[in-house]
């Protein structure tokens, strides 16, 4: 697919052209997949890198419209009670540019958040089990990762 037409398909709001391209060519899900990559266990006092990975699992190139510069992806950490203890974007402003990211089949791109195992107030969280979710904002929608857990050992 040509450079310009791939971009144009991705840019057209309403997605008609993009949808047509994808429907014609996709044999699997036409949507990118998103997941969080992080260690299963860490120790209190560590700083953990949490990677939000977006991947094109389809058979054709796809162009994603990702909001923000830097891309305004979010990572949300909750405790077993469901209470939110930390999130990457809490209270922050995001530059309002739009990134057009073209992924070839099988290609992925990572966005990394760094969590110092503290709550929103900067206080160290207690050891235990926590749950992580990631959100990737796109024009007109957002992609959410499956939840995964993280255990903080003392």
């Amino acid at each position: 697919m040509r450079f310009e037409s791939t971009l144009r398909a991705g840019l057209r709001r309403g997605g008609v052209a993009a949808l047509a391209v994808l429907l014609l060519s996709a044999t699997r899900s036409p949507h990118p997949t998103v997941e969080l990559v992080a260690p299963a266990r860490v120790h209190a006092g560590d700083t953990v890198d949490i990677v939000l990975r977006v991947r094109n699992d389809g058979p054709a190139p796809m162009t994603l419209e990702l909001s923000g510069r830097p891309v305004g992806f979010d990572v949300i950490v909750t405790n077993p009670d469901g209470k939110e203890v930390w999130r990457r974007l809490a209270g922050g402003a995001v530059g309002a540019a739009l990134m057009l990211l073209t992924l070839q089949p099988g290609e992925s791109r990572d966005f990394t958040a760094r969590w110092a195992l503290v709550d929103q107030g900067g206080n160290a969280v207690t050891p235990g089990r926590y749950f992580l979710r990631g959100i990737l904002p796109m024009t007109g929608r957002q992609l959410a990762t499956p939840e995964r857990d993280l255990v903080i050992d003392p």
Partner: protein, 460 residues
């Protein structure tokens, strides 16, 4: 089949009597402007049959005028002229006869539907003009144009009530001869048709379309090789400007982070519409010209480990001065607080920049027009706020927050206050967004801050 143009009696005698009683010297009658060629043609293919005349119909005003022409013989349509006078075409029964407008009006008042009577009742003066065709004849000929759109370049067909003719509009590049040939083949007299040239009907332009000249609010795209090869970003033109340092050339202002690297001049290339490929300059409209580096912000950056500026703004120079629609911002069809229209208002396509406000006051209503969420507006809820940018080491000093929506791609959009129906005062450049208690906000750098860093700008 006999040749005929003047239809046999259509029953109603009132108008026929009126026409018979026409006397010369009646007031407000006009001489015909149409050619006086006889409708009786030697070419049998141009004659209308009774069946065609009976079948003639139309929708809207054409339908009502066709119906009226059956009720009021000789009625050829009506319209308001440029001075506001209601003008009625009447086909006279004999050459040289004048028309008495009062009788025409009374006939139309008796036969017309509510829409016609409303117009008659508000028209103190009615002017009559001699028609070449009655409206039923025009519609019957129009029905013969079934294949006219097969002619390349035909844009529209019309029964032109102002000219008492059919109109076939063609694109500038179309061949009039092809239309003439098609008319002859269809049996439509050449004299009954005006062929005019118009631009093709475009789809409604949006803020995301290619445009020349470029007004504030339209989309720009640019490569950011520092983040990866071929990686493309999308922002909005804020407003056009002429810097004091180069007042004879055209520039636009957009956000500093709408460049390869935020702060510092990388000579970023800007495109509208999309670039054709990585190296092509097709659709290139401008190049980054001035984008001060982030640093201590004249000693006002007190935040350790962070770099600052007073504005997230840069100056880009148009590659052709004619690309700038100086002093204007695109005006979409409507604006709302969270998200607005992207489609440009055809009837009112631009806001005119008439002045600048150095900074906003709390509580004022600020507007923006950006390529993703269109025209939005809301109250200024924070003024002169030092604002950190998520995921960076940047703090923007003294920024202003508005309770209104923005989305990725709106960066760089001009922020303004309305000072008249179509007049605006520039107040800044949008660069960021977020939420406040779940409500969307956009954040902008004020004009005073922008001009402190980019230098004095003329914007209107």
């Amino acid at each position: 089949m006999r040749s005929r143009i003047v239809r046999p009696g259509h029953g109603l005698s009132l108008f026929a009597l009126m026409l018979a009683a026409i006397v010369s010297g009646c007031t407000e009658s006009e001489q015909p402007t149409a050619p006086q060629t006889s409708m009786t043609s030697t070419n049998p293919s141009t004659t209308l049959t009774d069946a065609e005349l009976r079948a003639a119909t139309g929708r809207g005003v054409d339908g009502e005028f066709t119906r009226l022409a059956r009720q009021v013989p000789g009625f050829g349509g009506m319209y308001f002229d440029k001075s506001g006078k209601l003008t009625v075409y009447v086909k006279p029964p004999a050459a040289g006869a004048a028309l008495r407008s009062t009788d025409v009006v009374s006939s139309l008042r008796a036969a017309g539907n509510a829409a016609v009577q409303q117009r008659l009742s508000k028209s103190a003066t009615v002017v009559t003009k001699a028609a070449k065709y009655d409206f039923t004849e025009l519609q019957a000929y129009r029905n013969r144009l079934a294949k006219i759109f097969a002619v390349r370049g035909v844009v529209f067909t019309d029964t032109d009530e102002e000219q008492n003719r059919l109109r076939v509009a063609i694109q500038p590049s179309a061949k009039e001869a092809d239309v003439v040939k098609a008319l002859a083949k269809a049996g439509v007299p050449r004299e009954a048709v005006i062929i005019s040239r118009v631009s093709a009907v475009d789809r409604v332009k949006t803020l995301q379309d290619k445009t020349r000249p470029v007004a504030g609010g339209f989309q720009i795209t640019f490569f950011a090789p520092s983040e990866g090869p071929g990686l493309l970003f999308v922002c909005s033109v804020g407003f056009n400007a002429r810097p004091a340092s180069d007042p004879n050339h055209e520039y636009f202002v957009t956000a500093s982070h709408c460049s390869d690297i935020q702060g510092g001049n990388q000579h970023t290339r800007y495109f509208n519409d999309l670039p054709k490929n990585l190296t092509s300059n097709d659709n290139r409209i401008a190049t980054e010209q001035k984008d001060p580096r982030y640093g201590r912000a004249a000693g006002q950056c007190v935040y350790e480990g962070f770099r600052c500026r007073f504005s997230d703004a840069l100056l880009a120079k148009y590659s052709n001065d004619n690309f700038s629609d100086f002093g204007t911002i695109a005006r979409p069809k409507f604006g709302l607080q969270r998200i607005g229209a992207l489609q440009i208002d055809r009837n009112n396509p631009r806001f005119n920049v008439v002045t600048e406000f150095g900074f906003p006051f709390l509580g004022e209503i600020a507007h923006k027009v950006g390529r993703t969420s269109g025209w939005t507006m809301g109250p200024v809820i924070f003024t002169c706020v030092d604002t950190g940018v998520n995921g960076t080491d940047i703090v923007q000093i003294c920024q202003d927050w508005v309770l209104a929506g923005s989305q990725g791609g709106d960066s760089g959009a001009g922020v303004f206050e309305q000072v008249g129906p179509n007049e605006v005062a520039l107040v800044g450049i949008l660069w960021g967004g977020g939420t406040l208690d779940g409500a969307p906000v956009f954040i902008f750098s004020a004009m005073e801050q922008i001009e402190q860093e980019l230098g004095p700008l003329t914007t209107n």
